[in-house]
């Protein structure tokens, strides 16, 4: 065990001791039915007055055995299931799975399909961040941003709906490329959304970024150092807010990301405010990627020639993408049949949630909800 791991609290018993309480201490169960746990997360808090002495996340209330289901479905049959993991970013889930199976097959999607995938995945990133922004602000008591965020998210969902008929669990991609051609006004819709969106982000920022109360509630709250973040396997905006520049889109480019210019926003202090700023900046970058991509979607086929029945050769593959919440990885083992032998998902939320215990130490009850919001978890993905 290295020093970083020790600092992050590995090796200590994580369950909190509820048998011996101090004079002023109480145990508070937050969730699984609570307005701010974003689903069915349960947090056991040991409180001294308003201050958190210890905390324990209890998960599993939304476990559906997604990974086990995969072992009894053929490769294409399992694709819709991955949409139900991070259900607010279904497109990204699908992208990761399809690319992983393609890698296993040794196939590659045609350029046109890859560009369309990139556009949809970036739109999905914006949609996911918008939902995060709204709910996070709501947790901190700002009632209004969520409705503005939902208004813009609706535009994205409309594009999804026009493209594939579904809004939330889209199943937008197929192994080997795309099922559907883009619809007639696809480029125009994406472009119009992206062009309008810049000033919409400014609107959100007007409400929050320089608001004294917002800064007071988020600055210095839930600090996660870069070392801890790396030791705990934290990825995505949470990691980048701690000052580590790691983005799978840059490090191991997939889809069509190597074609486009974009920056990876990072911040230094790793607190809730920085995580907020990183995600806001990411929305701006995602918008730029969409604008670049939509201008030159290559012509050509949208589906690779991979045959009707998918029988990958025996072997294993790990493929990861940068989902809206962090590194989303698929580890797939094939035994040469039409069904995977094992599918293991590396969900970003699950790993990021592990950092909660570290962030919440010494925080107050009100900070707890701010921290949960800033990690941006989806329990469907944590529990699978």
């Amino acid at each position: 065990m290295n020093a970083g791991q020790e600092a992050a609290g590995f090796g200590t018993a994580h369950g909190i001791d509820t048998t011996v309480l101090g004079e002023n201490e109480i145990i508070l169960n937050m969730g699984p039915q609570h307005p701010s746990t974003h689903g069915v997360l349960r947090i056991k808090l040991r409180l001294d007055g308003e201050r958190v002495v210890d905390s324990e996340c209890i998960i599993g209330y939304l476990h559906r055995g997604v990974e086990k289901i995969a072992e009894h479905r053929s490769y294409p049959q399992f694709a819709p299931y991955v949409d139900r993991m991070d259900y607010v970013a279904a497109v990204s889930n699908g992208l990761g799975y399809c690319e992983a199976v393609e890698k296993l097959l040794g196939a590659e999607a045609p350029p046109r399909a890859r560009v369309v995938r990139t556009i949809l995945a970036e739109l999905q990133r914006i949609a996911s961040h918008l939902l995060w922004l709204g709910t996070h602000a709501l947790d901190i008591g700002a009632l209004t941003p969520i409705f503005y965020a939902m208004r813009e998210r609706e535009e994205i969902l409309k594009i999804f709906e026009k493209y594939c008929g579904a809004r939330l669990t889209t199943h937008a991609f197929r192994i080997g490329g795309l099922q559907y051609e883009t619809y007639d006004t696809f480029e125009r819709d994406v472009k119009r959304f992206c062009e309008d969106f810049a000033q919409k982000i400014d609107q959100y920022e007007t409400l929050l970024t320089e608001n004294r109360i917002w800064i007071g509630r988020t600055k210095g709250v839930g600090v996660l150092s870069a070392d801890d973040a790396i030791a705990l396997g934290v990825t995505g905006p949470v990691l980048r807010a701690s000052g580590v520049e790691w983005d799978v889109r840059k490090a191991l480019p997939y889809a069509a990301y190597d074609r486009y210019q974009f920056e990876v926003p990072t911040r230094e202090s790793g607190d809730t405010y920085d995580r907020y700023l990183v995600r806001i900046a990411e929305m701006r970058q995602a918008r730029l990627i969409c604008l670049q991509a939509v201008d030159g979607i290559p012509e050509g086929a949208i589906m690779a020639r991979i045959g009707k029945v998918l029988k990958p050769p025996p072997g294993e593959v790990y493929h990861s993408i940068e989902g809206p919440k962090g590194e989303l990885g698929y580890y797939i083992v094939s035994d040469g049949t039409i069904q995977p032998y094992r599918v293991r998902v590396r969900p970003p939320s699950f790993f990021n949630l592990q950092a909660f215990h570290r962030m919440a130490r010494g925080a107050m009850v009100a900070d707890v909800v701010a921290i949960i919001g800033s990690i941006d978890i989806v329990l469907g993905e944590v529990d699978r």
Partner: protein, 452 residues
């Protein structure tokens, strides 16, 4: 005989007023909630209640019916007696406070010579309802809410009280009527004399009524619903009523003390219509009501259902009725005219104040507990003290050396402003030092102090 009639009317009028207040207040609270929901909706790019009645006009009645018919749940381990009694304390105390509030010169239950003190004292008793309710629910969320509420109310009572003192010094009386009279005599609303007093009272009154951004006792995203978590149905409605009654009270106090109570804006402008005793500006309320009625009539045909068309038209007719009353009172005796128009202006000002409450609620995130305590003890209370001392100095300047009242208060305002700037600078120095830890020592001290 005459004396007998007089004593009967001396009793009958207050009783009448009290009955009207008790009857009208729940309805008023319901409609404030509706307005709040509509204002919130329009600020958030949506429509708000649209189903029950045209533009949701009957929504409060439907809500009230629902609450009364709902099952009354008492948690198994709750302290039943206290659980039952706590909301009653809250609502009773809130209603009692109305007895000294003058809604226009004629409409007041009792003109106490300690009116302001009475209102402040009685309405601060409402905390008993909250603490007892939170404690008796036997739930941790309720308990946390109650504790937060207790600390918060006590702290902001001090700041708010000191802000009121600055007005008392200027008015020289605790009677609500005489405070308004003083503003009439001095020819200016006190908000222009002591803007900082008003500012402090505004912040303190939001905190005292547990409204966002100080709604920690019922912060829904943190402690579910705070002290009301275990309450449902009618008991919950009582708490709700108490909360909105308190909002109206603080708005009424602010109106009376800082905005000239029932006085019309531009009270000194007294031009009459040629040949009559009707003042030009006294027609404004009537015109406003007529405009509102016209608006309702124009909306009526656009409503989707016949019933809604009728309700909208009825709302228009009601506005016309008010317009007629306002107009007729112009030709009545002085007392009648002042009574009716005074009530109108008073309610308009109260409404504007409550609108600000709503506006803040939808604009700001929520404070954290230690920040809330720090704001009160380290910012508002010192500021209020400086303000009070400054007003005292100004009064001495005015009385001893005959300074112009406005001029004498300019140094006060400047001094308070400078002090506020200094405090803010200190505050940001402090947060720079404390960066990295969740809350600094002072915040901690305030939290501990609040908990005791």
């Amino acid at each position: 005989m005459h004396a007998f009639l007089q004593s009967v009317s001396a009793i009958a009028m207050p009783v009448l007023c009290a009955v009207v207040i008790v009857l009208v207040l729940p309805l008023l609270a319901g409609y404030i909630v509706l307005v709040e929901r509509k204002v919130m909706a329009h600020m958030q790019a949506r429509l708000g209640p649209m189903r029950v009645g045209p533009h949701g006009l009957l929504q409060p009645i439907a809500d009230a019916l629902k609450l009364v018919l709902k099952e009354d749940v008492i948690p198994m381990n709750a302290d039943r007696m206290i659980f039952w009694f706590a909301p009653v304390i809250s609502v009773t105390v809130a209603l009692v406070a109305y007895s000294a509030l003058p809604i226009g010169p004629a409409f007041q239950i009792a003109d106490l010579n300690v009116g302001l003190l009475f209102i402040v004292a009685v309405s601060s008793l409402g905390i008993y309802g909250i603490v007892l309710g939170g404690w008796s629910s036997n739930s941790h969320y309720s308990l946390l809410g109650a504790m937060r509420s207790a600390a918060q109310l006590v702290s902001y009572e001090v700041a708010g009280g000191l802000a009121l003192v600055s007005v008392l010094l200027l008015a020289g009386s605790l009677s609500m009527k005489e405070i308004v009279q003083a503003q009439l005599d001095q020819g200016v609303w006190f908000v222009f004399y002591v803007p900082f007093g008003f500012f402090i009272y505004l912040v303190a009154s939001i905190a005292e009524t547990n409204r966002a951004p100080f709604d920690l006792p019922e912060a829904d995203s943190e402690i579910v619903a705070g002290y009301m978590t275990e309450y449902s149905g009618f008991r919950w409605a009582l708490y709700f009523l108490a909360e909105y009654a308190n909002v109206i009270i603080v708005a009424g106090v602010a109106t009376t003390l800082f905005f000239g109570g029932w006085l019309r804006p531009l009270t000194r402008y007294r031009d009459h219509f040629p040949g009559t005793s009707v003042e030009l500006l006294d027609v404004v309320p009537t015109l406003a009501m007529i405009a509102l009625a016209v608006y309702c009539f124009r909306l009526a045909p656009e409503q989707p259902v016949r019933v809604q068309k009728r309700v909208m038209a009825a709302a228009g007719v009601k506005c016309l009725l008010f317009a007629a009353i306002l107009l007729a009172s112009l030709f009545g005796s002085d007392a009648v005219r002042q009574g009716v128009h005074g009530a109108f202006w008073f309610l308009v000002k109260v409404g504007a104040y409550i609108y600000c409450f709503m506006w803040f609620r939808f604009s700001f995130p929520r404070y954290r507990f230690d920040q809330l305590m720090r704001l009160s003890w380290q910012f508002l209370i010192p500021l209020a003290l400086v303000n009070v001392i400054g007003v005292g100095v100004a009064i001495v300047l005015r009385e001893k050396w005959d300074w112009n009242p406005f001029l004498s208060l300019v140094p006060t305002t400047l001094a308070t402003l400078g002090f506020a700037a200094w405090l803010t600078a200190e505050e940001s120095d402090f947060s720079d030092e404390a960066e990295g830890s969740a809350a600094g020592d002072a915040g901690e001290a305030a939290v501990n102090g609040g908990g005791e």
